[in-house]
Symmetry: C2
Subunit: 262 residues, 2 copies
DNA sequence: AGCGATTGTCTCTTACAAGAGACGCATGTA
DNA sequence: TACATGCGTCTCTTGTAAGAGACAATCGCT
């Protein structure tokens, strides 16, 4: 195989051409359901993950039998099953940080009235692990489990603190640097932001994902220097500097409680 | 011992003798982690699910890469990963009954001070899907996701309402009829209980799982006649009939809210 | 040091699962 | 009625993943 020709490589990031391992198919199925966020017919599922129909039927049957998936009400659609819920709860139980982080986030949003979130890296992607909506009439919704490009967020800048430049580059694609409104961030600026955020111990971004909000984030440490998660507040972009400052203070206080040897 | 030829067969109800499909191995791994409820070394995991070491290593690697499992802190143990948590949250979001049931259970335990639980059938087994501890000093602990033989519980009697005798027999093994203290229930009695519970619309069991508690359960319907879940309260066995009655009234009221066309 | 147990990686073989595709049965719609 | 489309099941072939086992590295124990 010659690596000289970039064409062949770029054409197929998704070459499920030949025989694919069953387990991989399953992982694709789960990811696909996670993105659709709703029950889906098996035929469509097969199309969605680009797998043969017969294979998909067999795999889905296994998964349904195992309880990882369930047939949805009408009868021929599938979605996540109870067992995944149970495993998820096991994860929470075994994970102090997540358990306490969830509580802290809920508490924080009640206390401040702002939307509050707990964020983590999930296989190299920024993920909202838990969020609690604020009490504002126009609320900024952002679903749990949503995956957003790292450069779009304040948390992203904190989560990458301490990484080598090469590692950051590996995690951030060209597309990730393009904001929803079309503006393009420079990679160097992003890396500078990461360094700055690492020093100051918090990060604020304004009007990145949308024009109406800013995002205040602080790191949560699992070991000295190791950023395991971030807590953040999503507030209206016209929030006064004074209030912004006091909110950041509050955040840092709460994050410190969660951190281990921060 | 019996005659020689039965030896080979009777020895292993778990004949993972020959080649096993990778997906099945994975499902066993997940189930195993669910029962251990803690991170475990890969070697031990291989022993635990009775799989070859080399296979286990490859599978675990896939699962860790996919985020379904995570390496635990020390480095060579694995447990459930973030992705399973996210999938679990997806399940909750897509499942009105569970979402509202959880709230109701939390509310109920705060209101009554008793331990409250939401239970469902999970691939033919009784499962505590969510539980909220009461405020009593000696609290009856029962972990979420715990699987208990159906005949041991009040909920079990309600969940099987409307099933044919044969179906019930298929779901209940001989062992399931033996209580923790060694007493043995008669299958016929259990089936009678199920019928009775179906008619009265609630079920109370006393001193079945242990000698100190009784369990009050009511059905939650997903369609007329179809029991999807149960809500139950675990109370001290000496709770007065009067209080028991009023608690059941409360339960029925709340379960009715959850039910659809019950 | 010596010894046994465990851990992570690697190679090679062959049993078997992934996949192509046909089939019958429901739909819908001209 | 004929035709198209989608569903669920089944059969057969072959590419390949599960597994046996060897290997070096590391740990714990005397």
């Amino acid at each position: 195989m010659q690596d000289g020709n970039a064409l062949a490589v770029s054409a197929d990031e998704k070459t499920t051409a030949s025989r694919e391992k069953g387990l991989n198919r399953v992982l694709e199925i789960l990811d696909f359901l996670h993105t659709t966020q709703r029950a889906i017919g098996i035929g469509d599922l097969a199309k969605g993950v680009n797998a043969p129909r017969s294979t998909t039927y067999t795999l889905v049957r296994s998964l349904v039998d195992a309880g990882l998936l369930e047939m949805a009400g009408d009868g021929n659609r599938v979605y996540f099953g109870k067992k995944l819920y149970l495993y998820g709860m096991d994860y929470v139980r075994g994970n102090d940080l997540l358990r306490r982080g969830r509580q802290e986030v809920d508490h924080l949003s009640r206390e401040t009235g702002e939307t509050s979130e707990l964020c983590m890296l999930q296989s190299g992607r920024y993920t909202i692990v838990h969020s609690s909506p604020g009490t504002r009439p126009f609320r900024i919704s952002s679903a749990t489990g949503l995956q957003i490009p790292l450069p779009w967020t304040a948390s992203g800048r904190l989560l990458l603190a301490g990484l080598e430049r090469a590692e950051v580059e590996a995690m951030v694609s060209e597309d990730d640097l393009v904001l929803p409104d079309g503006r393009k961030l420079r990679l160097d600026d992003f890396i500078d932001d990461i360094a700055k955020a690492g020093v100051t111990g918090y990060c604020v971004t304004s009007g990145l994902v949308d024009a109406y909000t800013k995002c205040l984030a602080v790191p949560v440490f699992s070991a000295p220097g190791k950023v395991e998660a971030t807590m953040c507040l999503v507030v209206p972009i016209d929030t006064s500097d004074e209030r912004t400052g006091s909110l950041i203070g509050l955040l840092r206080d709460r994050a410190a409680r969660l951190s281990i040897g921060g």
